[in-house]
């Protein structure tokens, strides 16, 4: 048996976690780009010819876990969402990132906002039976914030790309929106189609397929495809390393195909390398920088934690 490495640093989540097919695969519609299920290598689009681009990402941080005298737990968390814009002027932060501070508590409690220095943590009820689930809800708050921002940015002549699955709080936008998942948590394709993933080469993608929303708890159906990102050096890594699943909410297949073709140039050019990012190549270069900038806007966790201690000590 010939073992090969996973490209991500094992300290992080793993890029490919699902071993079993998602029961959904029956509903997955292939054959949209013709009957042949084979790798596609679209023409490259030079960065100079890209449309105006927004890359949206969020960050979350649990600042403290608190408990009331009855032992009811709640979480003080900071979430943020921001975007990087790439237009004719260069690449930079698109305005001030959104930052929210929430006091996440189980439903059924009457909770007042907590003021920590200049910061106010607004209460937000979440359906959670234990602290682990409550922790998970922080991500949801961040997703909402990201979705809000993405919707604001969606406009004529530009492309909004979200880090993660497309999460919508309202109606799908009128303008193209892409989402990409770095970790392949589920196998949506039947086994014979799934095999193609391990034969893809850099700058290639699978044909698009239709992914219904209802089966995976989403309001919207999406077109989806896999892209193989370049990974240098290639030798130590296994064939599935460097895969990314991309999806879009557009309703027309031809539009989805256009976006799928363009996404190959975009994502492969923006792919990072294991030398600079432990989650390479999927954690895009600009998004890595955006995460750092978001961290700055969220404030130092250590300082906030100390302020919380000082405030609660009264």
């Amino acid at each position: 048996m010939k073992w090969r490495l996973e490209s991500w640093n094992p300290d992080y989540a793993l890029p490919q976690v699902g071993f079993a097919e998602t029961p959904l695969h029956e509903e997955v519609k292939t054959g949209i780009e013709g009957s042949a299920w084979e790798a596609k290598r679209p023409a490259r689009v030079a960065p100079a010819d890209w449309p105006v681009l927004y890359l949206v990402d969020g960050r979350q941080r649990v600042d403290a876990v608190v408990a009331d005298p009855q032992g009811q737990r709640a979480i003080l968390a900071t979430v943020s969402a921001g975007a990087v814009v790439r237009d004719g002027e260069g690449i930079r932060l698109a305005g001030k990132p959104k930052v929210r501070r929430v006091l996440l508590h189980p439903e059924g409690l009457q909770v007042e906002p907590i003021r920590i220095g200049d910061l106010v943590y607004e209460p937000e009820a979440a359906r959670a039976t234990d602290l682990h689930k409550l922790y998970g809800k922080v991500t949801e708050v961040m997703r909402r914030l990201e979705a809000e921002l993405a919707m604001e940015l969606c406009d004529e002549g530009c492309l909004v790309v979200m880090d993660g699955q497309i999460y919508l709080t309202g109606q799908p936008p009128q303008h193209p929106l892409l989402g990409y998942t770095k970790t392949l948590s589920g196998l949506y394709l039947p086994p014979e189609e799934q095999g193609l993933l391990y034969q893809l080469r850099a700058y290639e993608r699978t044909p698009i397929f239709r992914l219904p929303g209802y089966g995976i708890g989403r309001r919207v159906d999406v077109f989806s495809w896999y892209v193989k990102l370049p990974l240098e050096p290639r030798a130590p890594f296994h064939g599935g390393a460097g895969l990314m699943r991309v999806e879009t909410t557009v309703s027309e297949p031809y539009e989805a195909r256009r976006l799928a073709d363009f996404s190959v140039s975009l994502l492969c050019t923006m792919a990072s390398s294991p030398a600079r990012d432990p989650r390479a190549p999927q954690n895009l270069i600009a998004v890595g920088a955006l995460e750092m900038l978001l961290g700055r806007h969220m404030g130092s966790g250590e300082v906030i934690r100390r302020t919380i201690v000082r405030t609660l000590l009264g």
Partner: protein, 582 residues
């Protein structure tokens, strides 16, 4: 006042130095002067103001860990945030409350009055008025001043200039300093002040009294900003050694047919002035030799008593063979008349070693002073060796006319020594410095500025020589006597420490990289030492006692001709008719 940024909080801000984050669209350069204002915690004190000079400027991509990020940023794949920061070294605090400025305190560019505060210009003055001596222009176009009282000997004296040859413009800067001293109106009694400049390279300094035809209007403007009138030195006399040819005494100058006076000493001046030691530059090699030199010098002094010169008459030369070989004449009383330096050397040889041709002759005991014959012979050998170098400078055929900067109406005395051998140069410099110093000791009024390049030759760190003794005297006592040395050298590390150490004003031009690392330049902050290696021509770094930081400055192109082809000829009708007597 232009705000340029704020004290940043990502690095420590101290009471003596702090970092400034420069705002987008603003800029600040090395050497720029800035100030920061912030409220004192005690409201009664009010606002604290720190003045300072920028000594480091850095830009970088914040948070960027990889060198190659720059390529990604340029390809617009990586958003970056550019940091532009400047490090400020505090020069002054008002009030003197050593508080670190708060991060976020506004920082302004210091101009006009704030600049004067930052550089202590407001303190340059005394009861009689301002003592600001303009010494160049700062990078921002403002005038750089030094406190005259540290130049002319009141609080301190002497200037020392270091820099490599050909690039550092040491002599040009020394001359510019003199020009400013004489023509800025800051030096009290400038009319009585005198300067001696030794011309050691080509005939560069023999045209100082003539305007430079290459001076552009822009350079004139620079003089104007300094409060000076662009033009030549107004009161200069030029002296040059005679041509070493028999016959009339003609100055050995090529590029200037008129206006140069020859100089030489006659034998009586040589003996009564006690100038013999300046022919020996290696006195330190034999201790007995030093003793003998002093002995012979005294004897010659006695010999010359009461004699008018130019020749020297001696009565006790009984060696006829020697006389014949030397070709001496006799005066009406039958005394031997020495009319050349070579004859004097012959006579001294007779006094020390006895008659010519005698293997074991006996010298005159009063001259020999119990010295071993080996020492006597060594002395004579050395003395003979100097004849070729100085015979045309020390003569007995014409009354002497040595250069005397303290006599006559001229402010500047340019003494040409560039054609002389090293030994003759030492002699001329030594003899002149001794005479100036002695006259000043006797209370001659007025200040004397001495411009002397190649100090490492005249006052080396290792060897002993009579000139070094005089220079040390000037360095240590000259300031109180009004003798100010404007010395220059390529390498301060090779000059006697006390000569350099006594200079209140130190100037550095372009330095050799190895030299810049030596302890002699430790008074410069590291950023200045690094920069000294790349200073362009015409840029100097000036350190003065009252300022905690050196001033980098430029000085204007000479307004006086520095070579024959730069001389501006006045061909106007009026001048021509004046010259032709029409």
């Amino acid at each position: 006042m232009r705000p340029i940024g704020m004290v940043l909080g990502s690095r420590e801000a101290g009471a003596l130095d702090f970092w400034v984050a420069v705002e987008e669209g603003q800029w600040v350069r090395l050497d720029d002067l800035v100030y920061v204002e912030f409220p004192h915690p005690d409201p009664a004190v009010g606002v604290v103001r720190y003045y300072g000079m920028v000594d480091q400027v850095v830009k970088l991509y914040e948070g960027s860990q990889f060198d190659t990020d720059v390529f990604l940023a340029q390809r617009e794949l990586l958003p970056v945030s550019k940091s532009y920061a400047a490090h400020v070294k505090v020069t002054r605090l008002e009030p003197e409350e050593y508080l670190p400025p708060d991060p976020g305190s506004r920082v302004y560019l210091a101009q006009a009055e704030a600049l004067e505060k930052a550089l202590y210009y407001d303190r340059m003055g005394n009861q009689k008025g301002s003592t600001r001596l303009p010494v160049g222009l700062l990078k921002n176009g403002e005038v750089a001043y030094v406190n005259l009282e540290f130049v002319n000997g009141v609080k301190g004296g002497h200037v020392n200039v270091s820099g490599i040859s050909g690039v550092a413009t040491k002599t040009s800067y020394a001359l510019f300093l003199l020009f400013s001293l004489f023509h800025s109106g800051v030096l009290p009694g400038a009319a009585n002040a005198r300067a001696v400049v030794f011309n050691v390279k080509g005939e560069d300094l023999l045209h100082l009294d003539r305007p430079n035809n290459r001076l552009t209007p822009l350079q004139r403007e620079a003089y104007h900003r300094l409060g000076l009138e662009a033009g030549p030195f107004r009161s200069v006399t030029f002296r040059a050694p005679p041509r070493p040819t028999p016959g009339d005494i003609v100055p050995a100058v090529e590029s200037r047919p008129q206006g140069v006076q020859p100089y030489h000493w006659d034998l009586v001046q040589f003996c009564s002035g006690g100038l013999l030691p300046f022919l020996f530059t290696d006195r330190g090699t034999m201790s007995n030799l030093g003793f003998l030199i002093d002995q012979v010098t005294e004897r010659l002094r006695k010999l010359a008593e009461g004699q008018k010169g130019p020749h020297l008459s001696v009565e006790d030369w009984t060696d006829e063979l020697g006389q014949m070989e030397a070709g001496v004449n006799f005066d009406s009383l039958g005394k031997v008349r020495l009319t050349s330096f070579a004859q004097l050397v012959r006579y001294v040889e007779f006094k020390l070693l006895g008659p010519e041709g005698e293997e074991e002759g006996k010298g005159d005991p009063r001259w020999v002073a119990r010295q071993a014959r080996g020492t006597l012979e060594a002395f004579v050998r050395r003395l003979r060796g100097t004849i070729g170098s100085v015979a045309h400078l020390i003569r007995g055929d014409r009354p002497g006319s040595p250069p005397d900067p303290l006599a006559g109406p001229f402010q500047m005395h340019v003494v040409d020594i560039h054609q002389l051998s090293a030994q003759a140069q030492m002699f001329v410099v030594g003899a002149m410095l001794q005479e100036i110093f002695e006259k000043k000791e006797r209370g001659r009024p007025g200040r004397v500025f001495i411009v002397l390049d190649e100090l490492n030759k005249y006052a080396p760190r290792e060897d002993e020589s009579p000139i070094k003794d005089i220079l040390l005297d000037i360095a240590e006592r000259g300031r109180s006597l009004g003798v100010i040395l404007i010395g220059a050298q390529q390498t301060a590390s090779e000059v006697e420490r006390r000569v350099v150490g006594n200079a209140a004003i130190r100037v550095v031009g372009r330095l050799d990289a190895a030299e810049a690392e030596r302890p002699e330049y430790r008074y410069l902050p590291p950023s200045f030492r690094e920069r000294a290696v790349i200073l362009p021509q015409g840029t100097m770094i000036v350190q003065q006692p009252e300022l905690p930081i050196p001033l980098p400055l430029t000085f204007p192109f000479p307004a006086w001709a520095t070579k024959a082809e730069e001389v501006w000829e006045d061909n106007s009708d009026q001048t021509l008719s004046d010259e032709l007597g029409l």
